[in-house]
Symmetry: C2
Subunit: 431 residues, 2 copies
Amino acid sequence: MKPYRELSKEELLALQEELQAEYDAEKAKGLKLDISRGKPGKEQLDLSMPMMDVLNGETVLNAENGTDVRNYGVLDGIPEAKELMAGMVGAKPSQMIVLGNSSLNIMYDCVARAELFGIMGSTPWSQLDKVKFLCPVPGYDRHFGVTEQFGIEMINVPMTEDGPDMDVVEDYVNNDPSVKGIWCVPMFSNPGGVVYSDETVKRFANLKPAAKDFRIFWDNAYGIHYLYDRPESEQPHILNILEECEKAGNPDMVYEFCSTSKITFPGAGVAAMASSEANVADTKAKLQWQTIGPDKINQLRHVRYFKDINGMKEYMKKHAEIIRPKFEAVLETLEKKLGELEIASWSKPVGGYFISFNAQKGCAKAIVAKCKEAGLVLTGAGAAYPYGNDPEDSNIRIAPTLPSTEELSIATALFVTCTKLVTVEKLLAEM
Amino acid sequence: MKPYRELSKEELLALQEELQAEYDAEKAKGLKLDISRGKPGKEQLDLSMPMMDVLNGETVLNAENGTDVRNYGVLDGIPEAKELMAGMVGAKPSQMIVLGNSSLNIMYDCVARAELFGIMGSTPWSQLDKVKFLCPVPGYDRHFGVTEQFGIEMINVPMTEDGPDMDVVEDYVNNDPSVKGIWCVPMFSNPGGVVYSDETVKRFANLKPAAKDFRIFWDNAYGIHYLYDRPESEQPHILNILEECEKAGNPDMVYEFCSTSKITFPGAGVAAMASSEANVADTKAKLQWQTIGPDKINQLRHVRYFKDINGMKEYMKKHAEIIRPKFEAVLETLEKKLGELEIASWSKPVGGYFISFNAQKGCAKAIVAKCKEAGLVLTGAGAAYPYGNDPEDSNIRIAPTLPSTEELSIATALFVTCTKLVTVEKLLAEM
């Protein structure tokens, strides 16, 4: 098949008719599938069911330091949970605050505390005329939702294959004191699957922020979420931002986040924050008024289940075995059905939860709408951009993990048909 | 023994010497006991251990509406958890938001949201010159900690045996638009054990707040925490504030809170907020940016364990059997050792977690300090007052639940000795 742009009007019209028939047939199947979010599938959740039994028949539930985890107290998590979660990001246990089931909640609360009370004695952001965040795009819609909710001005920063465009980042951060933060998913970025290069991480660590309360919000959500089983030395990796910031004399510049949401249970995992000891102290001083402490029983349950970080990493191979075929099925179909048409490009991730798809300019909303009309709910077009506004109307996030292989195959076929049809319609409209 | 105030100087001096010797002997025992917080004891926590096994061997963990509780989603809790928690406060399930393990966290977040975003479109409190909260005293120190952290001005309201002095409450709430809230523990108040009378609840419901974003923070922490097993009709009760507010045309005036912290596990229970459907909608609209959802597995675990609210109420009788003897032991010792001396008064609670003790004016700090010197940590004197400032320096909160019966007996003996000694010293100093 030739690239669409080389087709004549007649060829396009014929194609449109053919695609419309295909679409109508697919629509008639009455599909009802929502793959709008990066949710693990049932088979993945089943993996962790033995964790439900790990505290069976116990009569004592003490942390290693003797704390009864059933009772009140321990603001920042039990020691063994700190150690486990520290292993996920290469931090020291003293740099950890281990909390409940949602790292998004921890991030939101970090922003909320900065708004209400400031960071380490700085002016509360809510008292400033203007607060800005840099937002590498495409990025994670819920990050942008948090900053939008707080009325923080969001500035798009283009993503490259090495991470955010650091020239742009440096220019803003080092010169504009109203820039207080940047959202980063440094490993298998959401949705692009980008792994920040060593150079990018070093440039982050060596920023010279105009605002002393500038913080990098380093959402290391997929730090051990590889799709392929390779020796660790051959896996994609990122530099340890906490260490790099320390080396660069910026120890307090980063808040890092991680969770077991996509390791055990999204609804009942353990989430944590890692940062300098000074940031940890500053955070705990405010956190102590918000809660007496997190669910320590669930922390203990996770530690008993995994034993240590190696146990957790080994476990992630089972997830990979489940989701890798789903990614590969989508990627193969895209390649086979769209590869030669030159009407789209997409990421080929080796980890994380998403495929980032770029249609022709101005087509994304129409494709998502057409899919929805036929029963397939995708993440809203534009969601990966601040204010839901993709200036190119081109990006679509594909989340292959939730559906069964069979559902996914129907969904991908439909998606391809919609992409083709919308593109043809656009080409015709432009003639 | 005669009342102390009738003793001569010589008698007091002799008594002081005797008490000092007693104190020294008790101090020499090297006690190390912290009863500063209202924590359940080990035996109570053991009660709930079978809950750890309730999801054993399950292969499917679905809520009654089919939601897989292991995955992401469900911002406000699963339906059966709403129903269970609604039963605790007599609310409708549609009035519930069921979240994680800490009702304090929910309360803090309610204040934080009001500060950041306002309530139902009102000006965010952080943008106002002055925000005030009424604080019935003595009250719960962590409530006052939250409002202090937000820089909210706290105004003491005296407690009566029917609840807060409603003349004072009405005067402030109905006339001062900067009064935005009041902290209430309506049933077995912390620390006084007061149960708000029907008249008090009705007067609350019929307030005519000068501020339309005034909210009653109704912390129903001990709603089913009776010490005595009586037919429900003979138990202390409070009117349903949600219903009363609705009847009075003030449906949105109250945020109510409850939790299973002192029913199952303080560290791993389920907490909830109950309010009008309009407040619930307003809260969820902001909450959706903070989290994807609470730990639904733990919610399901609680529901499966208790079945329904009757199961939970029945269960509370077992708690009562464990803690009632502790309360009674303390009360008997106080009565026997201090009853005739007329140097102190104390509450005789029939529910809740505390005994509120009033020493002679100006004695509380000294008594707590003397106990501490001998190894017994009590709640800090003044903690039950905003800014930790008890104007009379008289109130001490006794939390009898955590220690074993034996520890409690040693602790009470020491407390009595310290109270006597400090009072004698004061009487001598005033001569």
